[in-house]
């Protein structure tokens, strides 16, 4: 069974032989897909309140974001990053507890779905306002430099929609000014909610933003796990080695609604026929089969293993109590003495 507890030791991924790394990544992708499929069915069954946001089709990019980070590195995932979160070390129960509103989850029912995180374990808890987490990641890296830590990087995710926020711009520029070891992975999944690229930006290629900030820029085909691992792995390595901040722009199609409430009927058929519209998980699996990297039996076991882990995480969360208003500490500041003065 794959280790899903927060990893406190160095990931093997960065040093592993390419095909081992590929297979490890594939398993995280499979786990994320299995989990999210299950969350979707719980949502459809009325068992999840609020929204469900999944990363279907974006697992290859996302897993590469989580996989190369080591102890001491900082990760700022966004809404389509289940694969990366898991690879980074987020326990599955964190996800199910948050979605199912268990009092024992990291957000304790106070926040839901994808706004979760464990800042103490270097996984930032995103706010909804897109773009805002880039500068926060920069700040963590600044602090690490102040504290004379060595060998650290930060990785912050964004969608092509979020790249148009002012907050994103300021964060990117600040990263370059401070020359912190930051990797920004931008996934152009061709829509921001229902809005297609032509109403989002008008440059030829979003990677052309890199030069204007003083970042190094790379593009990847988000369908192709090998490509994702190579390029994002390379970017992480370069940032760690002291190169300027790195921007990686991936191209992909979101293979779900914006959230599960959304039928995505605005996605055109033409769009669905584009090469970037393939399912990266299927592509990766096909490659495993074609190259005979593992036998079908093993693949089947992995699948079962993922399902078992997901079932267990859900069962655990479902057994747990919901938060109750009268047991809640209704206080937004931590300083007890001051808290007591705020009614």
């Amino acid at each position: 069974m794959l280790q899903t507890a927060p990893r406190r030791k160095k990931s093997t991924a960065s040093r592993a032989a390419p095909h081992e790394r590929f297979l490890e990544a594939f398993r995280w992708m499979l786990l994320a897909r299995t989990l999210e499929d299950k969350l979707v069915s719980l949502y459809r069954g009325g068992l999840i309140t609020g929204g469900v946001y999944v990363g279907r089709g974006q697992e290859a990019v996302s897993v590469a974001c989580g996989l190369f980070l080591q102890k001491g590195d900082i990760f700022a995932p966004l809404i389509r990053d289940q694969a990366g979160r898991s690879a980074f070390g987020e326990p599955l129960v964190d996800v199910t507890r948050t979605y199912l509103g268990s009092r024992q989850g990291p957000m304790r029912g106070r926040d839901g779905n994808i706004h979760r995180g464990r800042p103490r374990d270097n996984q930032l808890a995103m706010i909804s306002h897109l773009g805002a987490m880039v500068s926060v990641t920069v700040g963590v890296l600044l602090a690490k430099r102040f504290k004379r830590e060595k060998n650290f990087v930060g990785l912050s995710c964004i969608g092509e929609g979020g790249m148009q926020t002012g907050s994103f711009h300021e964060g990117m520029n600040l990263a370059a000014v401070e020359q912190v070891p930051l990797v920004v992975v931008a996934t152009n999944n061709h829509y921001a909610y229902s809005t297609p690229n032509d109403r989002e930006f008008a440059c030829h290629d979003l990677v052309d933003r890199a030069i204007g900030y003083g970042f190094e820029g790379y593009t990847i085909d988000g369908n192709d796990l090998t490509n994702c691992l190579d390029v994002i792995g390379g970017a992480v390595k370069r940032a760690r080695a002291g190169r300027p901040p790195q921007l990686v722009v991936a191209s992909i199609l979101r293979l779900s609604g914006h959230g599960e409430h959304d039928d995505a009927s605005y996605v055109t058929d033409e769009m669905k026929r584009q090469p970037f519209a393939r399912d990266c998980l299927k592509v990766a699996e096909q490659m495993i089969v074609d190259l005979n990297l593992v036998d079908p039996e093993t693949l089947r076991e992995w699948r079962e293993d993922a399902a078992a882990q997901v079932d267990q995480a859900i069962a655990t969360a479902q057994k747990e109590a919901a938060p109750e208003a009268d047991q809640e500490d209704w206080c937004a500041v931590s300083t007890r003495r001051i808290a007591d003065q705020i009614e």
């Binding site: 929204g51 897109l130 773009g131 979020g162 809005t195 109403r199 919901a322 937004a332 009614e343």
Partner: protein, 323 residues
Amino acid sequence: MSITYLEAIREAQAKLLRDDERVFIYGEDVGGTFGGAFKATKGLAKEFPGRVLNTPISEDAMVGAAIGAALEGMRPIVEMQFADFSSTALNQILNNAGTHYWRTNVPVPITVRLPCGGTKGSGPFHSQSMESIYAHYPGLIVMTPATVEDAYTMLIEAVTIDDPVVYCEHKYLYYHLKADKLPTEGGLPTGRARIAREGRDLTIVAYSAMLHEGLAVADELAREGFETEVVDLRTVKPLDTETILASVARTGRLLCVGESFPWGGATAEVISRVTSEGFHLLDAAPQRVNAKDTPIPYHPNLWAAHRPNAKTIADKARTLLRE
């Protein structure tokens, strides 16, 4: 046939687009076949080609552009996807739109629609009520319609007015609130509150979704023998002090209810005005009920306790009536 609060907002925009070629709608996902996160502009892009436009995720720029367009004679309606995201447009709203008439003598007729307020499971960033922040700064009119009729007529008036209007529409009311039909005439003028229910024992002042909690409490108290007058503010700025004072003059007791955070804001403003200008009218200490002073929780159990509700309001009302 019946029409919801949300449909009224859509119909008002359809009418505005139909009747006034200066009107256009600008915001994230408002256009195409989609028609907005809440479908408040559903079908409008098709019916009015080129006048219902998707924007990038750039709240500051969309309001900035609306200001520019308004200066050039247009009547833009900006839809924020959620009120909460208007925090990133706040500078343009407060410092640009809000100051412009005072500085240059040229008004800025923009309407910014804010889908406000809590709904179950929406959490800290999709539930906020921001009227108190916008009302604090000069230069803006802040509307908080509580009925289907007002949602309709006030949005039309918002776009007609030469000044910038922050139009706070409540997401909880979108589907929950229905009327038989849309009004064919304008409603009360902007800035005038409405007596939503008459009574003589207690005045409850409320606005937006809290009006309905207030009305429910009035029903409940009626069964206990108390007659509650309920005032619907309609706009929190300007605030119709006169109507409130007249009500308090009848009842002697004031309870003010708002869904936003407890420090400052609309309820504090109402109580301040009433006590400054109508102290002698009060037979008991005025009270207020607001949300709790924490971010708005995701979990329904917590959310229900965070916002004012019929129970917490009724409890406060009973204490007040006993004094």
